[in-house]
């Protein structure tokens, strides 16, 4: 096991690199799995002519966790826990897409209060993911103070998550049928406090970076992809919107009540790194808009579906109703069963289209669950985006794609 199985000989890659590499005119460099700028364990084999990247061959799989196979061995609710750990910057988003797939498969209703709460949490998660993106992207381009500012904001959001569920990151708060438990007393106050202070912070980040000539020099005309190419390569999310295509699955295939809220979709024009940066910064503002609207019209009512075939009854019912005890027993020992058939649920994660293909077989365990993750699709375009740029620009491009290797490798 400890034999270096990551050694790939040049022979095996002959078909991918040019003849000049094999003769030694150009240099083959390994930008290894452990590297500060690769945002995780990504290995890149670069063919360099001096400092110019001629070919870039990504090698992924260093964070492969076997989540899809492991989920087949657990029942639907137990498998939910594993979804948190996939894209570890978008935990609630992963929970949400999996729960949407289950709810579609078993045809389970979600009460409006739960839908509104899911929207608030998903948008908070989007903001916190974009903050980490900004922190690491700016850090790679040597704007180190942004890192500290962004993580300070993120702590506020993580405090809100901890208030709801007890956990900062791996919350598993969104369950099939609604959410785990109702919002605590200080939630609204904390979120309003956040929405009051955050716009000033966005202005602070923009004042540091948006018109900074150093930042513009390092990001303008770097990693350009046009709208046609972006669609052909399966890009979605800010990568696609930076190239001018206004596709956002929250507007086109709305889920969890997104059609009730009023928000814009920012798009770029040139399709370069700078436009993607602008798109994501504007998305921060739009997310705040959605959160405020959802919080203003937060309906009362139940926070989870009352279909006892799928949702465990609350404890106070167990003392009074025999059916509740039977449902409780069945759900916590075997779990609920889903019918035979397959569904595909789509959500908009901070990185792009996050989809969950779920196939049931009539039993309590998912027969096949596959996550269509945006990072895998986006990483495919790295060779196209980085051809002809310098190695230093490659770092900026990786940052602007906003990959999370847990998402790509699952």
């Amino acid at each position: 096991m400890l034999q270096p199985s990551m050694e790939v000989t040049v022979d095996e890659l002959k078909h991918l690199v040019s003849a000049q590499a094999l003769s030694g005119e150009t240099m083959l460099l390994n930008m290894g799995p452990q590297h500060p700028s690769t945002h995780g364990v990504l290995r890149l084999l670069l063919e360099l002519d001096g400092e110019v990247v001629l070919q870039c061959i990504p090698d992924i799989g260093f964070l492969h966790t076997g989540i899809e196979k492991n989920m087949e061995a657990k029942n639907y609710l137990q498998a939910l826990v594993m979804t948190d750990r996939m894209d570890y910057l978008n935990n609630l988003g992963n929970n949400l897409v999996y729960c949407l797939a289950i709810e579609k498969l078993v045809d389970l209703d979600v009460p409006p209060r739960a839908q509104a709460i899911r929207v608030i949490l998903a948008e908070l998660q989007r903001i916190s993911s974009h903050l980490v993106w900004l922190a690491t992207h700016a850090l790679d381009l040597a704007a180190m103070s942004t890192f500290l500012y962004c993580f300070r904001e993120r702590e506020q959001i993580l405090d809100i998550f901890e208030m709801c569920s007890g956990q900062r990151m791996m919350t598993s708060y969104i369950r099939p049928g609604g959410i785990w438990r109702d919002l605590p007393a200080g939630f609204e106050e904390a979120v309003r406090q956040f929405t009051r202070t955050f716009p000033k912070r966005i202005a602070e980040y923009e004042s540091l970076l948006t018109r900074n000539p150093l930042f513009i020099d390092r990001t303008r005309k770097i990693g350009v992809i046009g709208a046609e190419d972006a669609l052909r390569w399966g890009l979605t999310g800010p990568m696609l919107r930076g190239s001018g295509v206004g596709l956002d699955f929250r507007k086109s295939q709305p889920y969890s009540g997104y059609e009730l809220y009023d928000f814009d979709i920012p798009t770029g024009t040139h399709g370069d790194t700078y436009d993607r940066y602008l798109v994501r910064m504007e998305e921060l503002r739009q997310s705040l808009r959605i959160i405020e609207q959802a919080l203003d019209r937060l309906p009362g009512g139940p926070f989870i579906s009352d279909n006892r075939k799928f949702v465990p009854p609350p404890r106070r019912e167990l003392g009074q109703s025999m059916e509740a005890v039977i449902h409780h027993f069945k759900l916590w020992t075997e779990g609920f069963s889903a019918p035979k058939g397959s569904v595909y649920a789509i959500t908009e994660s901070p990185r792009g289209e996050l989809g969950c293909y779920l196939e049931g077989d009539g039993g309590p365990k998912p027969y096949r669950v596959h996550f269509r993750t945006p990072s895998l699709a986006a990483l495919q375009t790295l060779p196209t985006l980085s051809r002809g740029h310098y190695v230093a620009d490659l770092v900026a491009i990786i940052g602007s794609i906003d990959i999370v290797l847990g998402d790509a490798d699952r």
Binding site: E12, G341, L376
Partner: protein, 171 residues
């Protein structure tokens, strides 16, 4: 008939016998396509019916039933705002699917992942090798006859016994 069912009907018209069946489950439509005609189907979908985005490409293993694998394609149209699924049934003995890389370039890595996890080969793929597992791994993990690799959990009653067996590293 919904819009997407209409589109599936148009696909059926253009492909004649290529489309074996069209089903709708929970509001989502899936068309079962003949194995040899999948590239033509994708071409029709992309160029004539306006489905520009290959949203997902994955595979399901129905071991021990035959045909064993079923490769699933999810196509999305930005102009019509519709999602259509295509399925192709693959026999484990014959097992080669024509690659759709020429129509949708982003199928490249998705097909590599399917090959890696299930062992389904794609003919015409420019670079079919393992994507996620180590390149010298034997076996295809997501097949139903591949073991999970479950390790015995160390509780307090079997702690010492497992502790003796566990290959701890020396410095």
């Amino acid at each position: 008939m919904t819009k997407v069912e209409g589109i599936a009907g148009a696909l059926q018209a253009k492909l004649a016998d290529g489309v074996r069946s069209v089903t709708t489950f929970r509001g989502q439509t899936t068309a079962q396509i003949e194995l040899g005609l999948i590239v033509r189907a994708c071409q029709v979908m992309r160029e004539e019916l306006g489905f520009e985005l290959l949203a997902a490409l994955t595979c399901v293993d129905y071991w021990p039933e035959e045909p064993r694998f079923s490769v699933v394609y999810q196509l999305y149209s930005v102009q019509h705002n519709e999602l259509l699924g295509l399925r192709v049934a693959v026999d484990s003995r014959l097992g080669e699917v024509p690659s759709v890389v020429s129509v949708y370039p982003n199928a490249n890595w998705h097909e590599r992942e399917v090959f890696d996890m299930f062992g389904v080969r794609f003919s015409g793929h420019p670079d079919l090798r393992r994507l996620i597992m180590p390149h010298d791994w034997e076996g295809h993990p997501l097949r139903k006859d591949h073991p999970l690799g479950y390790e015995e959990v160390q509780f307090s009653f079997n702690f010492d016994e497992i502790d003796r067996r566990k290959p701890y590293a020396k410095g």
